[in-house]
């Protein structure tokens, strides 16, 4: 059996990649994708610990995170489409006005 440390390390690396995407990329869609990657790394850790403690609660939490991620993506992409209609760009640096 694989020790849970390996899963912690993998999850940390994937989370860091996602955080790097949020901090360094300027494309709003790629930033949303990076957020998905971070949520996914947290899910992986939930399942690994559910396995370690032989409990189903972690898997149930993954189910809820999956739902929240789906809702977040739907609203986030709708926002990006709405912003693109008025500003004609999805560059994060150029979204600097509250009134479009």
């Amino acid at each position: 059996m694989v020790a849970v440390d390996n899963y912690i390390a993998l999850s940390a690396i994937l989370f860091t990649i996602g955080a790097a995407g949020v901090l360094t990329r300027r494309n709003a869609i790629i930033i949303l994708m990076s957020i998905e990657l971070m949520l996914n790394s947290a899910n992986l850790l939930f399942v690994a610990f559910a396995r370690q403690y032989a409990s189903l609660d972690g898997q149930i939490l993954v189910f809820f995170v999956l739902t929240v991620a789906a809702a977040e993506v739907a609203v986030g992409l709708a926002l990006i489409v709405a912003i693109f209609r008025t500003r004609k760009t999805i560059n994060i640096d150029e979204m600097n006005q509250l009134k479009g």
Binding site: M1, V2, A3, V4, D5, N6, Y7, I8, L10, A12, I13, L14, F15, T16, I17, A19, A20, G21, L23, T24, R26, N27, I29, I30, M33, S34, E36, L37, N40, N43, L44, V47, R51, Q52, A54, L56, D57, Q59, I60, V62, F63, F64, L66, T67, V68, A69, A70, A71, A74, V75, L77, A78, L79, I80, V81, A82, T89, I90, N91, D93
Partner: protein, 171 residues
């Protein structure tokens, strides 16, 4: 080194490689495809960890529905590539420094002794299947499960309201 560990390292290499591919692709469509590969690898991890229902939900919801939505929006807007560079020059080095710090903060405790003994226990067979998950959802987590449906309804209404075309003629 036993076979489980070798499988883990191969899959982990694919997952991290796909994540890095998503991070460094110039084209947003490639990023989305790399992310689908990453999600599929994580689904295999779920299968190894005794969570077949979560693995299938991951494939259908994440790799299926969410990423198709991403690809659809990328192609709808036609914004695979962004023109121009970032406006703030100091922002990128600072971001990478913070990222390295985050990686250190997330992993430094793994080197400490006393953690490596925590081997993953054997799970009772068939415990992460749809029947077990459904029973847990509808017994202990009934209220959160019902609230989830309201959340999805709100998200759906929000997405429709935000993207509704007002019919205004914009000059």
């Amino acid at each position: 080194m036993d076979g489980n560990l070798i499988t883990f390292y191969i899959l982990a290499a694919v997952a991290v490689g796909a994540g890095l591919g998503m991070l460094f692709s110039k084209n947003a469509v490639y990023s989305a495809l790399y992310l689908i590969l990453n999600f599929a690898t994580v689904a295999v991890f779920y299968l190894i960890l005794g969570a077949p229902f979560i693995a299938m939900a991951q494939l259908t919801v994440y790799a299926g529905a969410i990423m198709v939505l991403f690809l659809f929006v990328i192609m709808l807007l036609g914004t695979e590539r962004l023109a121009g560079d970032t406006a703030l020059i100091w922002q990128k080095p600072l971001a990478w420094m913070l990222v390295l710090f985050l990686l250190f903060a997330g992993t430094y405790q793994l080197g400490l002794p006393g953690l490596t003994e925590a081997q993953i226990q054997a799970f009772p067979a068939n415990s992460g299947g749809p029947a077990a998950i459904g029973e847990a959802l509808f017994r202990g987590y009934l209220l959160p499960f019902e609230v989830t449906s309201v959340l999805l309804l709100v998200a759906m209404v929000g997405a429709i309201v935000l993207t509704k075309w007002e019919g205004k003629q914009e000059g």
